[in-house]
């Protein structure tokens, strides 16, 4: 598994992206991350809920209870307009960061 401290700083963006695609709930998000990365990166649930709290406090996402499924009510998250704007900004920022890091990481053997 990949070192998670490098990814950690971008967890907010990863989760915002997944919620932007459609409204999702906790387990769905952690499963989707494992699925898309082919299990190369798995998010710890504890971290996931911390991110939810943080994003909700910043009003980048909001939550609502879905219909009753197996066992109980799922808590879904949807992205806010502010969240979408924030995500767009982080995408630009990431592009620039990537270019800078690539300057030093590429072409070395």
């Amino acid at each position: 598994m990949i070192r998670s401290d490098i990814i950690r700083g971008h967890l907010d963006s990863i989760i915002l992206r997944l919620i932007m695609e459609k409204d999702r709930y906790g387990f769905e998000i952690s499963k989707e991350i494992s699925l898309r990365t082919g299990n190369k990166f798995q998010i710890k649930e504890a971290t996931l809920y911390a991110v939810f709290q943080r994003l909700e406090k910043k009003e980048l996402i909001e939550s609502y209870y879905g219909s009753v499924s197996k066992g109980g009510k799922r808590k879904y998250y949807r992205i806010t307009t502010l969240g979408k704007a924030f995500f767009k900004e982080t995408v630009v920022e990431w592009q620039e960061t990537k270019e800078i890091i690539d300057l030093f990481m590429e072409g070395f053997n």
């Binding site: 387990f27 499963k31 649930e45 504890a46 709290q53 499924s69 066992g71 009510k73 799922r74």
Partner: protein
């Protein structure tokens, strides 16, 4: 599934009670249950599935930081600040009384020699120390 409920309440035992805590505990439990069902659908025994879900949940420290520590740290800090202010006031009043006593003794019993200055300097260390301690805590709480 009782083990999951138990585990979740263990995880959150240090978090101060609040509405937010209750709703997160419910959310965590709900999602853990879904994970267990999902693992069981993939052919795991219930026991294994629960173990795996619990292990993969990870360290709750980040989450408690978002939840509880912010709230409990602030009153704690202002408490120390109030204490140092109280200490400072106490030391000022205390030293003024002691110095006044020395001044009285000096002029009442031996007014031909001015000696009260020496104990006064010794006593002044007390409020000075408290003053700097107060300044230090004040500076820290600003950051």
């Amino acid at each position: 599934m009782n083990r999951l409920t138990q585990h979740v309440s263990d995880l959150f035992k240090d978090v101060p009670e609040s509405e937010q805590k209750a709703s997160i505990m419910q959310e965590v439990l709900q999602n853990l249950e879904e994970k267990v069902w999902d693992l069981m659908e993939q052919g795991k025994a219930e026991e294994d599935a629960i173990n795996k879900a619990i292990v993969e949940f990870g360290d709750i420290e980040d989450l408690t930081k978002e939840l509880g520590v912010n709230k409990s740290a602030k009153p704690g800090k202002s408490n120390t600040k109030n204490n140092t202010k109280l200490n400072l006031e106490y030391s000022i009043w205390g030293s003024v009384l002691i110095i006044a006593l020395f001044v009285f003794m000096n002029f009442y019993y031996s007014s031909h020699v001015i000696w009260f200055v020496y104990p006064t300097f010794a006593v002044l260390w007390w409020p000075l120390t408290m003053y700097f301690r107060w300044m230090k805590v004040k500076g820290e709480s600003k950051n």
